[in-house]
């Protein structure tokens, strides 16, 4: 009965926030710290498009966009590099890194479709941690709309 069935995919969505790297490490510790993990790991980072980041209108906007775009690209590559670093400390056999563009909410749901993921993992907050918001907009969106099981990993508050 040992059929060569592919392992189900676990998609972990990351951005450059501490919360999402905490989520990545937590997931690696809990699910990928033994050699034969049940899942194959897909790490997805969505780079926002420059137009969505720059709120300008008017004649100056077009000039700024290329600079914003190259900055965003740099940040995105750093995020992927950092993720690779974090994962290298764990024995993850089957791991893919994906850099996509666009709103993370849609990008993550699409990644789930693409990989037919069994589970999507997100941190609880991303950019802009506003005190009163107890769950970030991306994690909230995924909790509602992702087709597969969603795991929201929360970073414990520092009590001391």
């Amino acid at each position: 009965m040992a059929a060569e069935v592919g392992k189900p995919a676990m998609v972990v969505g990351i951005d450059d926030s501490e919360h999402s790297f905490y989520a990545l490490q937590w997931t690696l510790r809990r699910f990928f710290s033994v050699a034969d993990s049940t899942f194959k790991l897909v790490v997805v980072h969505s780079k926002p498009s420059p137009a969505s980041v720059v709120g300008l209108a008017g004649p100056g906007a077009a000039d700024v966009l290329p600079f914003v775009e190259s900055d965003l690209k740099k940040i995105a590559l750093l995020v992927i590099e950092k993720a690779k670093d974090v994962c290298s400390a764990f024995l993850v056999g089957d791991i893919q890194y994906e850099l996509v563009e666009g709103d993370p909410r849609n990008a993550l749901c699409e990644a789930v479709e693409k990989h037919q993921a069994e589970i999507l993992v997100v941190g609880s907050h991303g950019y802009g941690v506003i005190k009163r918001v107890v769950l970030g907009s991306v994690s909230d969106h995924c909790a509602h709309h992702a087709q597969c099981t969603v795991m929201i990993v929360k970073k414990p508050k520092q009590k001391h």
Partner: protein, 179 residues
């Protein structure tokens, strides 16, 4: 051999306390089955060197408090007599026991040991409180409970837990093509 950082795999996987919220809904029982299959893979078949049990599994069932039912009297009674209260409480207790037994049965069939806890109160809050008290590593909930509203993509309890539980939350969606 390099002296770079040792892979973590040489240690045993840390034991997790996983709390699964169960009620009468199919969604929560599916969530339990999903959790058992993916978080507590059984050592069935050959493989003598499979890792030990992943951790502690606790089933939590929230029983609605009595006031919730007494406020909506059925029939001509203007107030609840003590015998009505008693029989309602008995029925509720029995219902809770049935839910827990069914959940335990699912665990047993997959050879997983589970503890069970019945808490009384509003499900959203009591489940989060119970999870906190038990030093939970992961709280597992179904996505939609007894609500028959098709348009509700996320039930109130799972939504509340996603926002307010202070531990990681796993929301299990029903299988595609399911109803």
């Amino acid at each position: 051999m390099e002296e770079s950082k040792e892979p973590v795999a040489t240690e045993c996987r840390e034991k997790m306390t996983v709390v699964v919220a169960v009620d009468e809904s199919e969604g929560s029982l599916y969530a339990l089955s999903w959790a058992l299959d993916n978080l507590f893979p059984a050592a069935v078949g050959g493989a003598p060197n499979k890792p030990q049990p992943l951790g502690r599994l606790v089933l939590v069932h929230a029983q609605q408090p009595l006031q919730h039912l007494i406020m909506h009297p059925v029939g001509p009674a203007a107030y609840a007599t003590s015998s009505v209260i008693d029989s309602v409480k008995k029925a509720q207790d029995q219902n809770s026991r049935d839910v827990v037994e069914r959940a335990k049965g699912i665990c047993r069939r997959r050879l997983v040991e589970a503890e069970a806890v019945i808490v009384i109160g509003d499900p959203k809050e009591t489940i989060c409180q119970a999870a906190e008290q038990m030093q939970t590593d992961l709280l597992v909930v179904g996505s939609r409970g007894l609500s028959k509203i098709r348009r509700a993509i996320l039930g109130s309890v799972s939504d509340y837990c996603a926002h307010h539980a202070n531990c990681p939350v796993l929301i299990v969606k029903p299988p595609k093509g399911g109803h």
